[in-house]
């Protein structure tokens, strides 16, 4: 079996050398819905938390059934979308890894041109200048080459005035020799989803400190300056025979207890008693719903575990995923302010 590079077997101190420091960089949220129209609660949160950056998901890039690469879920917005003039919008594009897999990834220059044209149109519509463009793709061995070529092409198309950033998952930090480092100016470290999905009631999939710890050893020496994204969202896992078969991302765990077709269990999970549609998903009788809620304590734990391991003395953006009334309900502004001030 080919061995992965042994990353940390060096006789030098890599971990524990840097000290936690208060966050001094910009504060940010991710906005991941497809229609941009901030609620009053969301607008108030941006203002009172002095948020200066909003990473707005503008579209996904996917491979269509006919094999062509296409955007889906193009952002639409209200005339009064509610993003203050002094808040920078960072268009963020999620790209399915399959787009770059195999020999059919196509021409990176063409994809870059189309991507930039679409982003520019949206930015004009929002009356915002694009200073940074973020790409979110969980690339792998088979897709790295295509993804990196696309990033280089995008850089050429967007020009030097636009900073490119890419989301970085912790496994990409740990195995960076194998996964490569994307050719962008900055990385956004996603401080979540390190674990696997598991139907075990005790298992946490959004953030699990134990699962995260092994990935942090070489964080400070990552070749890109890193911003950090912390979780404040919740979701519900649909579990069948112990396997997670679906994520109900739009479901607020608080809703579950009021559903007549769900029977609450002692472990905080719910059993589906009759097959029923629920938020667009057809739940099967005997399925289990496992709510996972990220409370501020967990977000703080993620921050305290990860941020001190990042390269010290760098001005970095701290972003919370994601901005929504649900998230703000669970994380009052005061606790989020503390998180921005002291947690990161």
């Amino acid at each position: 079996m080919r061995l992965l590079p042994l990353a940390l077997l060096v006789f030098s101190a890599l971990a524990g050398c840097s000290q936690p420091q208060p966050a001094e960089g910009p504060r940010a949220f991710y906005f991941w819905r497809t229609h941009l129209a901030l609620s009053a609660t969301e607008r108030e949160a941006l203002a009172s938390l002095q948020v200066t950056r909003l990473f707005v998901h503008v579209f996904d890039v996917v491979r269509a059934p006919d094999g062509t690469v296409q955007p889906v879920g193009m952002l639409t917005w209200a005339d009064a979308h509610g993003v203050p003039a002094d808040v920078e919008v960072v268009p963020t594009i999620f790209i399915r890894e399959a787009v770059f897999r195999g020999a059919s990834e196509g021409d990176p220059q063409a994809l870059a041109r189309k991507t930039w044209a679409a982003v520019s149109r949206i930015a004009r519509g929002l009356d915002k200048q694009v200073q940074e463009l973020q790409l979110d793709c969980d690339w792998s061995d088979g897709s790295r080459e295509g993804y990196f070529a696309f990033l280089r092409a995008l850089h050429d198309v967007a020009g030097p005035q636009v900073r490119l950033s890419a989301t970085i998952r912790l496994h990409q930090v740990k195995y960076r020799e194998r996964t490569g480092v994307p050719p962008v100016e900055r990385g956004m470290l996603m401080a979540y989803n390190m674990g696997t999905f598991d139907g075990d009631p005790a298992h946490r999939s959004i953030f699990d400190a134990e699962a995260t710890a092994p990935y942090l050893a070489r964080l400070s020496e990552y070749p890109l300056p890193l911003d950090v994204a912390l979780p404040i969202w919740s979701w519900v896992l649909q579990v069948r025979q112990g396997h997670v078969v679906n994520l109900l991302q739009d479901v607020d765990p608080a809703e579950l207890s009021s559903q007549s077709f769900l029977r609450p269990g002692a472990d905080g999970q719910f059993t589906v008693e009759s097959s029923s549609f629920f938020h667009g998903t057809l739940l099967r009788e005997t399925d289990t719903l496992k709510p996972e809620t990220v409370r501020v304590e967990l977000t703080r734990e993620a921050s305290r575990l990860i941020v001190p391991k990042l390269a010290p003395h760098q001005r970095r953006t701290t972003a919370l995923f994601e901005l929504s009334d649900h998230s703000l309900q669970r994380h009052p502004v005061l606790t989020l302010r503390n998180l921005f001030l002291f947690g990161a």
Binding site: L6, A7, V10, F11, A15, K174, V181, V244, S275
Partner: protein, 728 residues
């Protein structure tokens, strides 16, 4: 983010293959196109988690539109010219063309082709028809200019707010003109199109009640002559219902479009979105009859849970064959998600037993496939029955052959007849079969496992993924022999064609296997016996470094010549120039040197001590922590255990006179490195280790040589040692 959804659907081994072998990306072994037997089946309806949506319909509509115009205008108007009119001509140019055809001007607008222009010159009776058509195109273009519909190319999608807005007065004028034209024309083709565009205009204006009223009033006009327009109009009605939040009615309307128009089915399926049980029950209650309820459940199954949907469909109509599409999708889900095979098999068996089953042969094929995958010989009869029920159906025959191969792969017996059956089954999988690659992959795995269970180690190895598990040298020799001997039976020929082993790598593995155990002399003999190609070492195997940044080597190699941001400065060859260049050593010369050193180390005196130290150093560098480990990477799964090098360092240290304190300090440090490497559990040697284990025995030995220059250098360079000293 959304990647996590994708993660759920991917097979881990396909994402991060651990070995040198590249796995098939597609892991499904059942061809969904068998569902073609039940009617038009767009490829997009097959289960493919890597692709989004069910299919693009824009291009189909475009083609249909062109074809309808071509039929309407007749052969004397060239379709390409008319397409220019539809797609590219401006309103001004259209007006100019109409004036030209009416004889009001004498100049044909630039870019308009000759066949259209000729209608004026010849006084063609088609001229009036063409003028009326051009008036319609002008009206449609005026409406489309303010529409927010998605164009054919989704990259060009301009958000609604960026389109010019239409004032109420302008909209009213457009509506008035359009309705006047609709009333005026007696041409059914244009009349239907005027009605359709007027409906679209109301849709863009979000005039939902007016749209419904118009659709009802113009029902007969919209229903002919173009079926495409009829269904597209109904799609707008459904869309309006969706926007009015009339979810139940909207879903029913989309389901009718899905059932009625093959061209629009993919888009209608995308738009069909039951939300909660209450709206879904309302949709079912609004359905006209059971067939419509069956169709609703089919769509629900496409969008969500096919198993639940199939049972609901059969509860309504036990003989329906509409479950076929869902059944093949569920087969794909079972194989990709690796869950639910039992439920699907149970369902298939029930369907086979059902006298009224409308798709019995499909369920025989599905059940046969599932049984074959787990080696149940009951698959044979089921697959044969499926093929017999579909004489001449090549798709079904190919799938059944694939299932038979998976069944035969389970039977690894020395019986020549069984072996021939396997060979024939493998040879029957032709290039035309779309799942050939994943089926062969699975067949080889199953064959390897069954041969292993049967105690046939050589064949188990021959069909295994090389390097996936360790294989003893005797078996490897058998593998090499079977690869190199002339094949005399069909089974041998097929086996040698299917194996993924490389004779060269097997030779490397056999030659280097003794070295992995520290036996250089044996390895030298093995080199002479197997003649592997020399492997070039990119790092000096006898070099000693304070800091073994083992990742730097691969990083330097990966980054050589690259401009990636991540390739500097740590990974640059400047930082580790020695690692990026050839060391001058090859595996052959290294083994020779190590054999000679082993002989020397068996003697006594300073040269024996030096030989032992060099052996320890070389074996350390060949281990997974060392900079020469690439040698072992070119074998099937060999690695040198750190304890081999530690033994040589211990020997060197013990033999070094106590007065040679500098030399003892160096060897003690080298032994500490080997001790540390030995302390890392074998399974963790490919991963970062935090905290690093402490090689207490040899750190202590080094500490006892605290007065040496070498120890001071270690103290300065090695943080791990320094911290240990500080804590002691």
């Amino acid at each position: 983010m959304r990647a996590i959804l994708a993660l759920l659907l991917l097979v881990p081994s396909a994402v991060w293959p651990c070995g040198g072998y590249t796995f098939a990306t597609d892991t499904t072994t059942f061809d969904p196109s068998v569902a073609l037997a039940f009617g038009p089946f767009d490829e997009g309806f097959g289960f493919d988690p890597e692709r989004s949506g069910f299919g693009e319909v824009g291009a189909l509509i475009e083609a249909e539109n062109r074809a309808e115009w071509s039929t309407y205008l007749g052969p004397t108007v060239h379709p390409a010219e008319w397409n220019v009119i539809l797609r590219a001509t401006t309103l001004t140019e259209l007006d100019a063309l109409i004036f030209f055809l009416q004889g009001k001007t004498s100049t044909l607008p630039a870019g308009i082709g000759a066949t259209i222009g000729a209608k004026r010159a010849s006084g063609d009776p088609l001229s009036q028809k063409l003028i009326a058509a051009l008036f319609f195109v002008g009206f449609a273009k005026r409406v489309e200019a303010v529409s927010n519909s998605l164009p054919v190319d989704p990259w060009d999608a301009t958000p609604a707010k960026a389109k010019p807005s239409l004032s109420d007065a302008e909209a009213a004028a457009l509506l008035k003109n359009g309705e006047a034209a609709l009333a005026r024309t007696s041409d059914a083709f244009l009349k239907q199109r005027y009605a359709y565009i007027l409906m679209r205009l109301r849709f863009y204006r979000k005039e939902w009640p007016a749209l419904h009223a118009f659709a009802d009033a113009q029902g007969s006009v919209l229903s002919k002559p173009s079926a495409s327009i009829t269904w597209r109009a109904r799609e707008y009605v459904a869309g309006a219902l969706r926007r009015e939040k009339r979810i139940a009615e909207a879903n029913l309307a989309f389901a009718r479009v899905y059932a009625g128009s093959a061209m629009l089915a993919a888009r209608a399926a995308e738009s069909f979105r039951p939300v909660d049980e209450s709206d879904w029950q309302q949709t079912l209650s609004l359905a006209r009859d059971d067939q419509e309820r069956v169709a609703l459940w089919q769509l629900a199954g496409l969008k969500t849970d096919g198993m639940v949907a199939m049972r609901k469909m059969l509860a309504i109509d036990p003989g329906t064959d509409r479950v076929a599409l869902l059944a093949v999708r569920e087969m794909g889900k079972v194989e990709i998600n690796r869950v639910g095979a039992e439920a699907l098999e149970q369902f298939a068996v029930e369907r086979i037993a059902e006298p009224k089953s409308g798709a019995r042969w499909l369920f025989e094929l599905i059940a046969g496939h599932l049984l074959a995958k787990r080696g149940d010989s009951g698959a044979t009869a089921l697959l044969a029955a499926a093929v017999a029920a579909r004489p001449g159906d090549a798709i079904v025959a190919r799938q059944a052959s694939a299932s038979v191969l998976l069944l035969r792969a389970h039977a690894c017996a020395p019986d020549p007849a069984r072996q021939t059956e396997f060979a024939e089954a493998a040879d029957a999988i032709t290039q035309e079969y779309p799942k050939r690659e994943p089926v062969m992959e699975m067949a080889l795995r199953l064959r390897s496992e069954s041969c292993s269970v049967a105690g046939n180690a050589i064949e188990a190895a021959l069909f295994a993924v090389p390097g996936e598990r360790s294989i003893d040298p005797a078996t490897l020799k058998g593998v090499l022999a079977s690869m190199t001997r002339p094949a005399s039976t069909p089974y041998q020929k097929t086996s040698s064609r299917l194996t993924r082993w490389s004779a060269q790598t097997v030779r490397q593995t056999l030659a280097l296997e003794p070295l992995s155990r520290g036996r250089a002399a044996e390895s030298q003999k093995a080199f002479a016996a197997y003649h592997p190609d020399p492997i070039e070492l990119t790092a000096d195997p006898f070099a000693l470094r304070f800091r073994d940044c083992v990742s730097c080597e691969s990083e330097a190699n990966q980054c050589r010549g690259s401009t990636d941001a991540g390739c500097s400065p740590l990974a640059s060859a400047v930082l580790h120039p020695a690692l990026a260049a050839s060391s001058g050593w090859t595996s052959t010369s290294l083994v020779q040197a190590l054999a000679a050193l082993s002989t020397e180390a068996g003697r006594s005196g300073p040269s024996a001590i030096e030989a032992a130290e060099l052996l320890g150093r070389a074996f350390y560098n060949l281990s997974p922590m060392g900079n020469s480990r690439t040698v072992m990477r070119q074998t099937y799964g060999l690695s040198v255990r750190p304890s081999v090098s530690l033994e040589w360092f211990v020997k060197a240290f013990n033999a070094t006179p106590k007065k040679n304190r500098e030399q003892r300090a160096r060897v003690a440090f080298e032994a500490a490195k080997a001790e540390l490497a030995s302390l890392v559990p074998e399974g963790r040697r490919s991963q970062p280790v935090n905290p690093l284990p402490v090689p207490a025995k040899w750190f202590t030995a080094l500490e006892q040589l605290a007065d040496t220059q070498y120890r001071r250098e270690v103290l300065a360079e090695c943080g791990h040692y320094r911290r240990w000293v500080e804590h002691h």
